[in-house]
Amino acid sequence: MGNCYHCGEEIPAHENRKVMIDGQSRAMCCAGCEAVAQSIVDAGLSNFYRYRTEQSDKIEPPTKEQLNELLAYDLPEVQQEFVAEHETYHEAVLTVEGIRCAACAWLIEHQLGALEGVVRVTVNTTTHRLVLQWQPDALPLSDILTHIQTIGYKAVPFQPGVEEADYKKQFQKYLIRLGIAGLATMQVMMFAVGLYFGVFSDLDEEFRDLLRWTSMIMATPVILYSSLPFYRNAIIGLRAKHLNMDLPVSIALLLAYSSSAYATLTGTGEVYFESVSMFAFFLLLGRFLEMRARRRASEIGSNLLKLLPAKANLVSNVGSIELVAASSLKANDKIRIVPGDTVPADAKVIEGESRFDESMLTGESYPVSKRLDGVIYAGTVNREQVVVAEVLRDRNHSVLSDIVRLQAAALDQKPKVAIIADKIARWFIPVLLIIAALTYTTWLSIDANEAFWITLSVLVATCPCALSLATPTAITCAYANLSQLGLMIRRGHVLEALAKTTHVVFDKTGTLTHGKQQVTEFRCYRRDDIERAKQIAHSLEAGQHHPIAKAISRYCKEQPILPATDHQTIVGQGVSAVIDGQRWYLGRQKWLDDLGIKSSDLYYGSNAVLANDTIAIASFDVGDALRSDVSSLLGKFKKLDIQATVLTGDDSESHYLTLLSAGLKRDNYHGGQLPEDKLSHLKSLQAKGHKCIALGDGINDAPLLAAADCSVAMGSGTDLAKVSADTVLPSNKLSVLLAALELAKRTASITKQNLGWALAYNLFIIPLAVSGYIAPYFAALGMSLSSLLVVSNSMRLLKTK
């Protein structure tokens, strides 16, 4: 058999596809891969296969509808949201799916660079993004997107997070501060070696002063430029009337630096330039790593938020159809909605009938049927047939935008998580300052000349270096681990919130269940009939639009479709057709009873029973199945003493019993919940002192997700849910949540160990420093060692269990 040369997947037995690459015939697994490989070769870019270090993604060939969808990105109203217009070209940032290694970037840049009208393409393989500059008159954006699809990648505009631009600026500034601190610290350390050796062998005062002066020159940018963020935070904290970790850091840095400068100028006392520089460098490094982890998480997170064009097919008075942006729709406009389309505005059906999937709005898992005069809502999806509808109100007043407003309000009231290090700082700092003051006054009466230097060594030795590294290093390592687990963090302080969780609130449809209709049970009592039954069911249901029919065809898709004649569809009952000279029926059990078919009652309760004209032979249960890991998840929560609540929009009691048997409490299941009900339920839990995680996927969950202490949106969920949530679960695997909870707990305990060690070290060193036994090099050594210990302890979080 062998594997596909393009994507590396196994080639199915019946496929025989080959592409000539570099003079060799290579096997392909599917039409998608074949087309992509062929267009890469045709463009003269077959070197891609030589350069790449990873296999590419398997590609489904894009359907005509998908390519048509891209046309909407050419609408000026849609482009307004993501295109920057320059004098001679337009610029847009796109997120690209499928980038694996540097060769992908090479391939995309070369493919697009050859197009007329493209000014410049830059691909970033770290963020999986592409900066595109093009001339819209020469080449529409949709053409460029199509070209990217032909070589096997998918590029779409996305919604960059609000914090993102800030993050980038901050990141570069921090990097410069860090670089300067690093380079200067190396120099100061080198001079310090000279100074320390001078302590043991007699160093001429002349050279000692030279080394001190040069150390001071190198340490100055570290203190006056690199360390600025610490001072700023300390002042911000003081203004808000609470003491944070940056205050003792700033005091220690500034005092040690200015006294060393004084010692240098007057040629007396001790200098601590190397200690302050190294201290500043370590702290900056910790903060920098934490910020980089957060920046990366936020970038990858916003890549998920694809900017889907809210478009509409406007029907003009003469009956022609025009593609417009949804935001331009007004009341009484006529719109045409084809199957698979999202309804662009609240509207009333005036022609045709169809079923609409409202699960993201109401939690109802089964598509709702809408006939003439039925009201359809913005954000729901047409599942069956083309309808024409009249817009009731513009988009800003739709039910959807009401929920968006509720979500924005909830986000403002989100509870803040207290950071443990700041709590410690609140009492540690006053104590430290009092000790320093006492030391100074006591030594004044013993030996006035030494008082200042001993006080300084107290401040340097107790400088909370390890203390302030304790949290950032632990969080950085935990972030790295979380992203490996497959949980994407979009906002800070998720770990702190996860570690304190006492209650988990779930949405049902789409979160605990898969959110789409599928065959949950297939019953067939005679083994010989199984294959035949599936073949016939597939042949009967092929091409049908009803959700049950679609679920059954999907379930039987491995079986070939047999030729059928006299195909009849009885609305609300089922279908029948003649296959191999025999009439077959597939439909409701009651319908078959009425037709007088035998033993259909064996299949009581099934959604669809299959029968020939005398006897029933098989049946299909169709429903929205629970995800496989739900039961074990609820069981584990019980063990961890975490309560679970299910808040669902639909009124039906589907899965109620299964959830109860998995360990859900009877009182913790609430059906028929509107978005505002979910929100108020969560708030009442929080008022009782519960720390809540919320999981959801739909538009109706957005307010809930926004208000929870920590929230998780399913990867398959709607964009609004992902925007509201703190984290996104792209794999949809609920078990990741358990691993994340466990990791958060571990992070909390490692942070505590770190803080404990840092405090213990300080307690040990304070008496020595106060009594004047600490030499400057010993203070510096102790500080470095305790910082190293803290960092290596945090590294343990990188290990996955």
């Binding site: 540097a102 570069q172 190198m218």
Partner: protein, 54 residues
């Protein structure tokens, strides 16, 4: 030992040059994508494509 009076200032000048280069590198976005550009030099320009020949 008086050679130190020349060597140490030289060392300091070097450090400032290094800092200058580093700041320039950061400002010209060279730290935005650390995976990619290392391999650029290994990738040849494309062979003449079939489109060009036609």
């Amino acid at each position: 030992m008086s050679i130190l009076y020349i060597l140490i200032p030289i060392a300091i000048v070097f450090v400032f040059i290094a800092i200058g280069i580093f700041v320039w590198a950061v400002k010209s976005n060279q730290f935005e994508d650390l995976e990619r550009h290392g391999s650029d030099i290994l990738f040849d320009e494309d062979e003449p494509s079939k489109r060009d020949k036609q």
